[in-house]
C-alpha cells in the first residue's frame, strides 16, 4: 500500500520520537543500574512511585481487551468483532510495558529469577507475575493465530474461541490481583478497601477502550459509526461507574472522620480532584457525542488522562503519604526516572506500532480497507 508523502513523514517522525525516547530511557536505566534507585525520587517513606503507578495503569490497559472479547465473542456484537484484534495488540504492548515497569522498579533485577526459583504462593506479587506472564502468552497466541488466519484468508481454528473466552476471566483476574497487591496491606489504610478491585476493573475497561479509540483515530483507521457509538456507550457506563466508586470512597473517608484515612485523602486530594474533574468532563463530552462526533476523541483523551492520574498518581505514591509513623514525605519523580518511564512507554508504543502495521497490512491485502483516506487518496491508490 502506498501512502502519500505526508503520512509517510508523519509515520517516520512518530518512529523517530519513539526510538529516541526509548534510547534515552535505556541510557537512564543503565545509570540506575549503576547507581541504584537513589536515582529516582523515592524515599524510605515513599517506596513505590512512578514505576509502580505506571505499572498499575498499564495493567489496566492490558486487561481492557477482555471487554471487547466479551462483547464480541460471548455476546455476538458484530461492531466489536473487527476491534478485538486491535484491542489485543494494545493488550500485548501494555503487558510488556507492565513487565518492564516492574523490572525497572527492582533494586536487584538480576535476581528476578528468584521469584520463579523460590515461589511464594502466599505472596500476591508472585501471582501477579504469573498472571501477567500467562496473559501475555494467551494474548500473543490469539493475535498470532488471528493474523496468520486472516493472512491466509482462513477461518480461525475452533480452539481459538475457548482460548479467547479464557482471556476474559484471566484479564479480570489480572486486574483483581493487581488490586490485591494494595488492598491486603493492613498498614496502608488508603488502600485497605474492598472496592479497590472493582475500581481497577471498571477504570481499566474505560481507559483501555478509550485509548483504543484514540489510537485507531490517530492511525486513521476506518471505524463504522455503529462501532463508535457502542464504544462510546461502553466508555460512558464504565467511566460513570468509576466516578461513582471514587465518590463512594470519598464519602466513607470524610463521613467517618477517622484521622488516618483523612490524612491520606488530604495528601492525595489534588490528584483526586484533577482526576474526578477530568472524568466528569469526559462524561459530559461523551454525552455530547450525539450532537458532535468530533467530541469523541477529546472525551477519550480525557478518560485516559483521568484514569492515568487516578492510578498513577492519586493511588500509588499517595498511599504512602503520610507514612505509618505519620510523617509526610513528598515524592517528586526525578528527570531520569521520568525518562525511564517514558522510554518504557515508547518501547511499548513501538511494539504496538509494529503489530498494528502487520494487522493493517494483512487486512488491506485481504481487500478490507482499514484506513480512513480522503477521496483523492483513494483515487491515487486505485
Amino acid at each position: 500500500m502506498h501512502f502519500p508523502d505526508q503520512q509517510q513523514r508523519a509515520y517516520r517522525a512518530w518512529i523517530t520520537v519513539l526510538v529516541t525516547l526509548a534510547l534515552a530511557g535505556a541510557w537512564c536505566y543503565l545509570r540506575q543500574l549503576n547507581m541504584g534507585l537513589g536515582l529516582t525520587g523515592l524515599s524510605r517513606d515513599v517506596t513505590w512511585g512512578l514505576y509502580i503507578g505506571q505499572f498499575t495503569f498499564a495493567d489496566g490497559l492490558a486487561a481492557s481487551a477482555a471487554i471487547l472479547v466479551l462483547l464480541s465473542a460471548v455476546h455476538g456484537s458484530r461492531s466489536f468483532r473487527k476491534l478485538v484484534l486491535y484491542g489485543q495488540i494494545l493488550a500485548i504492548a501494555s503487558a510488556i510495558a507492565c513487565m518492564l515497569f516492574v523490572v525497572a522498579d527492582l533494586g536487584q533485577p538480576s535476581l528476578l529469577w528468584n521469584v520463579l526459583l523460590h515461589p511464594s504462593p502466599v505472596s500476591i506479587m508472585f501471582w501477579d507475575v504469573v498472571v501477567l506472564a500467562g496473559y501475555l502468552a494467551i494474548t500473543a497466541l490469539i493475535v498470532t493465530v488471528t493474523i496468520n488466519c486472516e493472512r491466509k484468508d482462513l477461518p480461525p481454528p475452533r480452539w481459538l474461541r475457548p482460548v479467547a473466552v479464557l482471556s476474559i476471566p484471566w484479564a479480570i483476574g489480572m486486574q483483581t490481583v493487581s488490586a490485591f497487591l494494595y488492598c491486603g496491606l493492613p498498614g496502608r489504610s488508603m488502600w485497605l478497601s474492598a472496592i479497590l478491585a472493582p475500581r481497577f476493573i471498571v477504570s481499566a475497561f474505560a481507559s483501555g477502550t478509550a485509548l483504543l479509540v484514540l489510537v485507531l483515530r490517530f492511525a486513521r483507521v476506518r471505524l463504522e459509526s455503529e462501532t463508535l457509538r457502542k464504544a462510546r456507550t461502553l466508555i460512558a457506563y464504565t467511566m460513570a461507574l468509576n466516578l461513582f466508586f471514587l465518590l463512594l470512597e470519598v464519602f466513607t473517608t470524610l463521613y467517618s472522620r477517622i484521622p488516618e484515612p483523612i490524612d491520606h485523602y488530604q495528601a492525595s486530594a489534588p490528584w483526586i480532584w484533577i482526576s474526578g474533574t477530568l472524568a466528569a468532563t469526559s462524561l459530559a463530552l461523551l454525552n455530547g457525542f450525539r450532537r458532535n462526533e468530533r467530541l469523541l476523541p477529546v472525551a477519550c483523551a480525557f478518560t485516559v488522562a483521568s484514569v492515568w492520574i487516578e492510578k498513577g498518581f492519586a493511588l500509588v505514591p499517595s498511599g504512602f503519604v503520610p507514612s505509618p509513623l505519620g510523617v509526610v514525605t513528598t515524592y517528586t519523580p526525578t528527570v531520569p526516572e521520568i525518562l525511564i518511564a517514558a522510554g518504557i512507554w515508547a518501547v511499548s508504543a513501538l511494539i504496538a506500532t509494529l503489530l498494528f502495521r502487520t494487522a493493517f497490512a494483512v487486512r488491506s491485502y485481504n481487500g478490507e480497507k482499514p484506513y480512513l483516506l480522503s477521496v483523492e487518496q483513494e483515487i491515487l491508490i486505485r
Binding site: G38, R44, G107
Partner: protein, 238 residues
Amino acid sequence: MRISRNGFLRFLAAPILMLARKRATAAHGKRWVMVIDNRKCMQDEGCTKCIQACHIAHNVPSIPDARREVKWIWKERFRRLFGAEAVPVMAENRLSLALCNHCENPPCTRVCPTGATWKRADGIVMMDEHRCIGCRYCMAACPYGARSFNFVDPRPYIANRSADYPARSKGVVEKCTFCEERISAGRLPRCVEACPSGALVFGDWNDPKSEVRKLLESRYAIRRHPELGTGPSVFYVI
C-alpha cells in the same frame, strides 16, 4: 560438574537434615520478645547508645539524606509510635524506641515474593539479603515503617566497617534481626547490652522464669497498633 558420591549423598540428605533441624528448633519452643521500659529509657533523652551499638556492629550506613536513611533502631516520638489519638498531647513529643517488632503475624513475610524474609520458629522475622530482589513490597506492607532500603551503595557511608558482620549491597531491604547471630550463641542483642539504664529487656516469652515474663506479668505494657492483628513482639512498658 562432577560431584563425589559422598557429596551427592550429603546433597540428598540435606533436606531431611534441614527438616530435622527445623523440628528441633520448634520443639525447643522459644519465643523471643523485647520489653522497652520507657521510664528508664526517658531518663536520658539524648542517649543513643543502643542505636550506635547496633548500627556500628551491623555496618549500617549513615546516609546524610534523611529520605534515604537506613536505620534498624531509632528514637521516635510517642505521637508517631502510637498514633496521635492514643497519646495525651502533653506527652506526644516524648521519645521512645522504634525497631522491627518481629510480629507474630507479620504482613511483610506474607507479601515477599521470593521468601527473602520469613518468620523463624523462635519468633524472629529474618532477612536474607542474598535472595532479596529489592521489590520493596515488604516495606509497603510493614505497618510500622521498620524496614529500610538501600537506595544507593551503602558501603561509602559506613564509617568503621566491621569484618565480623557483612555489609549489604545497594538494592536490598534490611532491618533489625534481634541480633540472631548473637542470641543463637546465648548472648543478648547489642542494643540490650549497650543500654546503660537497663531499659531494654530481652528474653523468652515461653520461659516462666525469664525477666521479660516477670516484667510483662507485673506492669501494663502496650504494643504498637495492636488493632492490626500483627501481634508485635516488642512491648512498651510505659
